[in-house]
């Protein structure tokens, strides 16, 4: 083996090997950077949620220190004397949300059954699209409409009728005004119907046709089929949808702030003005003067956050199984 020849071949081989190696390294390096970046961005979502919770906890420490558990049982909301209690807002939030569910759940179920069982495909998709549009309209627009159109209607027609029919119940007593719990409940119902009905429609659509056919073969009418095969089969998903709707209703802010009247009082009458956790934050946060005032408002936000997270966890768990089934069946 000549020395010269050996060196040249070796050199070429070495250069080749190094070139390949460095190309592979570059490639691995690129992959590593890319994977690390997307990993960090995914991590950012966890960090955001944790940061949300931590910053709210941190900001509400002064209020937690000052009032402790009493915060949740006191109905005194008195910024002038720096005394804060959340009870009227918790009450207002729950009553307005349940009122909304009371109206929205039957309607949403009706819509979902109409879309999944009654309407032919072409109509069902168009109707579903229109119902979805309800979710696209900005909250402040609903608020505007509720203040100038719906509120006066409720004052002039709905409240007189209710107090005439059910006036013996304290719920329907009192002066008839455009802004109050009832108006808030109705506008909330309109806003959460698309959320509940779209999940319910999905849920009913994945009920296997064999279930329906079995009921029909046993001689069931259409309604009996729905009642015995479709609704029981989708019950878990329906409950999940309702909880999801409740979560939306609890946190809805602007439309409610515009029509509920914003008065931190607990009253038996649905006609009276009230306030919710979200509406009081929207109204008072920017003008809160003392640190304790801001802190108390943040603690109200913390209550909303905890309720939001809890409801979402439950609802997603209930709906998820159904949704996965949809993806599997949708594939064929």
């Amino acid at each position: 083996m000549s020395e010269l020849e050996g060196t040249v071949t070796d050199r070429v081989a070495v250069i080749r090997r190094e070139a390949t190696k460095s190309r592979a390294e570059v490639r691995l390096f690129g992959d590593r950077i890319f994977n690390a970046t997307t990993y960090l961005l995914a991590m950012a979502i966890l960090a955001l949620l944790a940061g949300l919770a931590l910053s709210l906890i941190f900001e509400s420490i002064p209020s937690i220190r000052a009032f402790g558990a009493n915060f949740f049982f006191s109905s005194q909301w008195d910024p002038v004397n720096d005394q804060y209690g959340a009870l009227p807002f918790i009450y207002g939030t729950f009553v307005s949300s349940f009122l909304a569910l009371l109206i929205a759940v039957p309607l949403s179920l009706g819509v979902a059954l109409c879309l999944s069982e009654m309407a032919p495909d072409w109509l069902s998709h168009r109707l579903g699209f229109l119902v979805d549009l309800l979710a696209a309209i900005p909250s402040v627009v609903y608020g505007l409409w509720a203040v100038f159109v719906m509120g006066p209607w409720i004052r002039d027609y709905v409240e007189p009728l209710l107090s005439h029919l059910f006036g013996f119940i304290p719920l329907f007593q009192g002066p008839k005004v455009a802004v109050g719990m009832l108006s808030a409940g109705v506008i909330l119902a309109i806003m959460i119907i698309p959320y509940i009905s779209s999940v319910c429609t999905d849920v009913f659509r994945v009920v296997p046709h064999t279930q329906r056919e079995a009921a029909l073969a046993l001689g069931a009418t259409k309604w009996e089929m729905v009642n015995t095969a479709v609704i029981p089969y989708g019950m878990t998903g329906v409950i999940g949808a309702i909880i999801l709707g409740l979560g939306r209703a609890l946190g809805e802010t602007i439309a409610v702030a515009m029509v509920i009247g914003n008065s931190p009082e607990i009253s038996a009458s649905l006609f009276k003005p009230a306030a919710t956790l979200a509406s009081v934050i929207a109204n008072e946060f920017a003008e809160a003067t003392s640190d304790l005032y801001v802190s108390a408002l943040v603690e109200l936000g913390l209550v909303l956050l905890v309720m939001g997270i809890a409801l979402n966890i439950v609802a997603r768990a209930l709906v998820q199984g159904v949704r996965q089934r949809r993806f599997q069946e949708g594939a064929k």
Partner: protein, 292 residues
Amino acid sequence: MAAAATPSLRIATPYRYRKIKSDLMMSVTIAATIITLIPLFLVLGYLLTKGFASLSWAFFTHMPAPVGEPGGGMANAIVGTIEVVGLACLMGVPVGVGAGLYLAANRSSRFSDWVRFSADVMMGLPSIVVGIFAYAVVVRPFGGFSALAGSVALAVIMVPLVTRTTEEMVALVPPELREASLALGVPQWKTTLAVVARTALSGIATGVILAVARVAGETAPLLFTAFGNRFWSTSLIHPINTLTVQVYTYAISPFADWQRQAWAGALVLTAMVLALELGVRWVTGGAAKAPR
């Protein structure tokens, strides 16, 4: 569990009555659908009539007029909305798309499950809570309300929406495409960006536009972050006016002039949001749907 709630079929009841009951109940579902759609048409109808009645060219070119002075417009609010939402996109979209790519590439790891779960929870959170977060991390440290704070709030709302649509869209890309690219020796990162993400690009863009439509209509998280401004401002560190906040302040004001302006503002806002939503649906043939 479900069986307990199931009523038995009462075959003994004459068919005629069962049929009548069935028809009645099914008509009730149709009635429910009609009742549900009435508010949609009422809201849109009032928007069009009241909005167009107060809409003029000045609305787009003039500044808000002081109380008692008729006319004026929302030029600063329109520009403010575009600025705040645009900046939110700059911050939120890369995070959302990156996280979505990660989730699509690592579909079944435990970490991915946690991220997916957090994104779902974040989507359902009240937006006003996000506003408080932006107040705590931007307004407080910087010592004042600012356009930047508003953008941060909107970006936080966008991130989970973009993440989930990106993941869903990328998951729809056939694995063969990816394998073909890898087999040709294209590095993984290049495959993901130039082949997989490229194929899913229209889907990802759809998700981004739906997220933009969603945050452009947000008011609550802007109230104490971007705050609002009666004057012209495009500065990031000063309060800025947005359409939603301007409509809100005008709507709850006692002045008839301002209330008329609120209707015009609401019309423009709704037109913007619906144009984005409908545009996307039209382009994608109705398949696109915002994640809930």
